[in-house]
Point group: D3
Chain length 238, copies 6
């Protein structure tokens, strides 16, 4: 039995609220149950120097957590003077996931920076971030398309993410915090709307898993992503 009473293959309630940050070119408040992340997409018509002169754009991401997104206060990274290894790992994952569905030539020599700031953390902050970031990205690209800043539509597909894991011996979809802490195995999947894998990250610090278990988790992930893709398309009004 899951702590939340959910079925093994049941996701938490997911909401995607667009245009939550009026100053940004794209934004989304995404919730996976109690996990809430505020995502903004910022367009710049310039590039970092290492990327210039190739006719290609760039998409990058940064991630943060408000100090009291967690049950006990977490030290503010700006005070600590650096981002933790975990933070850097997550923001690199978000950036790679989004770049997988963007045609950089069509984007032109522009950069989009995605900021994911966790308002409340209850497990799955990275998967919620990616899922919501797609919405902010799509809106920012639409904003650019309207202003003729792109060469063609740079969006090649949708992208979403979900976690799966083995909790008390049972493969489950979309782990919340209570499950995450206890799970023997934990995997994050990033898939496109067309069902292809962009990233798969499975970890079994406690109990190494078999190939069969991994197959089961992949099946759960595919189900979850297909649901998220429908929600994304609905949110974007198409």
């Amino acid at each position: 039995m899951r702590p939340s009473g959910r079925e093994p293959s049941q996701m938490r309630a997911v909401t995607l609220e667009r245009n939550i940050a009026p100053k940004a070119e794209g934004s989304c408040l995404v919730a996976f149950g109690s996990t809430r992340v505020l995502v903004t997409a910022s367009v710049e018509t310039s590039l970092p120097s290492w990327r210039r002169g190739q006719g290609l754009g760039w998409v990058t991401a940064e991630y943060g957590m408000l100090p009291r997104a967690t049950g006990t206060r977490t030290r503010r990274e700006a005070t600590a003077g650096k981002q933790s290894g975990r933070t850097q790992e997550i923001q690199r994952l978000i950036g790679r996931s989004l770049r997988a569905v963007v045609d950089m030539a069509a984007l032109g020599e522009n950069q989009i920076t995605i900021d994911c700031d966790v308002l409340e953390a209850d497990g799955g902050t990275r998967t919620a971030s990616i899922t919501g970031a797609y919405i902010a990205l799509a809106d920012a690209i639409a904003w650019m398309n309207e202003r003729k800043l792109t060469k063609a539509n740079p969006l090649r597909d949708t992208v979403a993410a979900v976690s799966c894991g083995i909790y008390r011996g049972m493969p489950v979809l979309d782990l919340d915090y209570l499950e995450d802490v206890e799970a023997e195995t934990d995997a994050n999947f990033v898939l496109t709307g067309s069902g292809k894998f962009v990233e798969i990250q499975g970890t079994a610090e406690q109990n190494p898993f078999s190939r069969e278990e991994l197959d089961t988790l992949m099946g759960l992930a595919e189900k979850g992503i297909s649901e998220l893709t429908v929600l994304q398309k609905t949110a974007l009004g198409g």
Copy 2:
């Protein structure tokens, strides 16, 4: 004429939404017009080492801005590796303002950390932060009182803050961003509910001001604070 069409002594619409961060002992989403700040209060039953053994508590504050709280993206301080001088100045001000209404002996050897994170910035982020922080602080102290963590009620008064300035020769209350940029003189006032001054910070980088002008600004501030005090008491259900 003010850009917003407000009267010189008219504040922006102010809202104080309590308990917005379910994990924190106290929290408030405060809005001064478009300026929105998420404030949390975190209780710890321990103290930093320099404060221990005196029978006194401590209240401290940290301040941050989401990168896209502003019209163009601001660099994330966690990435820059340090808090800016402006950030430190503001968080020190917030901490001092709140400590002025707390009886540290009654608080006991506990610490309350206030986090003010700006979701959207349209002028007056520090005054909105202080005004909202009082709500989060009051709720955190109530939480402590219920659990017998305090010796007596540590709250001695309410506290709120507002800015005033001289905009195109006209003294005005509660400057928004458009006014702030252009103002010749800019002052922040922190007052208690009983009308006493906790902090006054006036700056005239452009045009030094006369004592008469300062008097006018103080009058506006007293009006604004009395309105904020009513809103705070209403929010706290008293």
Copy 3:
């Protein structure tokens, strides 16, 4: 009774020794009683990049304390790896105070950097710094005027600073360290020679103050500044 035996409205002995740092374009060793600050003004005929191309100059300030300026040794900020929030707050205040009396168009695209290094600290280091910095600034500008580096005389007024506070219930002028530690209320005032306010920073962490008390402190400050202005003019030989 004040620890020093001074009258409530009596300043400490103030001295302004010009040209104390032979390599600098302007310099001053300023003493407010035992508080001694070495101030230098450095002229550069270039600007930081964000300020270029507007036909305007810039004045900025940095502040530091020798480790043994204080009764017990203070950790060197270069060793700690960063300037404290207090240091940044003070150097930002000094910079704003000086800019208020400089015509940036007349200064041309040049920068003056003021360095205030406290040799001995006995209260009022920021007000002594500002008062002495005016002398170093004036000498540096005279040096520039002689070399035709300015377009017109950029100095619009003099500027000086003093602290006031309520010590054991009595409003007093120019707090020394013993008074500062104990004062219920503490305010710093920066005024021009013509009696206008550039900055006012009042803090009442202990006991919030009334508007009447603030009025009294302002009166003391005006008296102190008028005395400092005379000393500044005398020092500059006018």
Copy 4:
């Protein structure tokens, strides 16, 4: 055709040279073709404070590259003042991989720190690091067993790692640098000697991959790991 002329399922020549660092409790110079990593294991009979008092040990890892391990010189991280996100990601992966085969209760309240320093980088530095780190770890644990520092033998299994990817449309095992740069898809697999998965990290920044492709890569990885496991056992003289 692979640049090296290898068959798709052919690994590079792998060597594991034990006891290369005479001062360390365990050490190994591991080569995957031209990729060479010097691994040491350091035993401490104390723990970081957050881990104490639970009767459990800890295994952690750090990773670095000599500046000229690469074709053009890479900036030294000690000079840059911090470890890159990539470095942190890799060292966290190495630590998790090793912890998966260690019984922390049997290890007792001791810590083993693994240092992986890349002498020459030609693709697969993280998989070579993990594979070599197992040797250093095993020797360090044997050293501890001899000295009765452990409660029982803490080693539960062997662990090794290998990368697979899709290079010019062809699934290949153990990518070298030339393949890595061009690969559409890139995955790292960490498996135990008994064939269970500890970590799987697949990335497709260029072309998302299908579940079938992932299955093929997993098959290659299982083949590679079984070969590495034989080499590890041989090296350890068993």
Copy 5:
């Protein structure tokens, strides 16, 4: 001919002004010609943790330069966020030089921190620092002896320092800035009052020097140190 008109073996005018920093247990304003350094000695009756419990004291030193000690402004190290390699090298040298004449057992478990802050730099700041630091150290130790903080007199000898170099082919004593910039060879000598060598640091980035040249420089150094030793003894009233 030397730029200053001095004879090859002639030192600059040296002055040692004691008790210049009233808050410090020992202090000295030392001048070697235009080079002026303010030195303080701070006594603490505790030790850094690595030194405790051995019955031995410690003497350490820190060095800094005011930004406008130099002809053009040097960036403040507190702003840069770290001490330069040159600064660290110098302060390590000062610390070693002083420790050579202190009996650490007699000092007891106390620490003396020497701060050398250069007010004006005209060559030889490290040798002036060491020479002046001896005075501050001696006064701090006398202060400790009076208060029975030491076990016996910890001062075993005096210590002073001077630079020598080959300037335009001519061996000269006590290089000033103009000579230092141009010198082919540059050596710093730290000797005790009894004529023993504590440190010798010779550098010939331009033209390697012969053993004969080094001998000549050593002779000059011995002459200079003997003069400095007389001045030190006079300053200390002996």
Copy 6:
């Protein structure tokens, strides 16, 4: 009697293995007994900005130690976030030593960066580094000469380094770790192949030394360097 059984004037076994790092333009694995340092030389056809436009090249060095080069693990400087004062001192020494034998005009506007990474530390890491760095430098310059990147042969002489010290009252050559820890006096000598001094750094934190003792140490150093010079010439095949 020396711990190693060596004669007072006997060096440890020294080996110089060229071309150990295949990606670098020059490299050398140098051993002084158990002390082993991996040195690489990296050629860049550009210069840091401060050196450009003068028609002169530049040679610089960086130094590091693998964490387990030492008997107990040393903290990784990349993790600590900065290079220690000791590290900076050593790398500055290496750079100066090599520059003394390079004709910067002949080198042209190119930079050579020497990296010295200590694999095992048993005393004398800085002298081994310099001695091995000369080999890497010579090979890198030969590589440049072949490609016509230089204007003439920039190598003016060879350079090598050795330490001497007074161990239990006996002057000895090439101190190993056991001797270094205990030595009263410790000096490093950098000499050219033609017998001139480039650097001399003598330190006597324990017992100041006499001029006679220094003379003896210099004699030992000259002997050691002449042996190292022969080995260098042999290694370079000529």
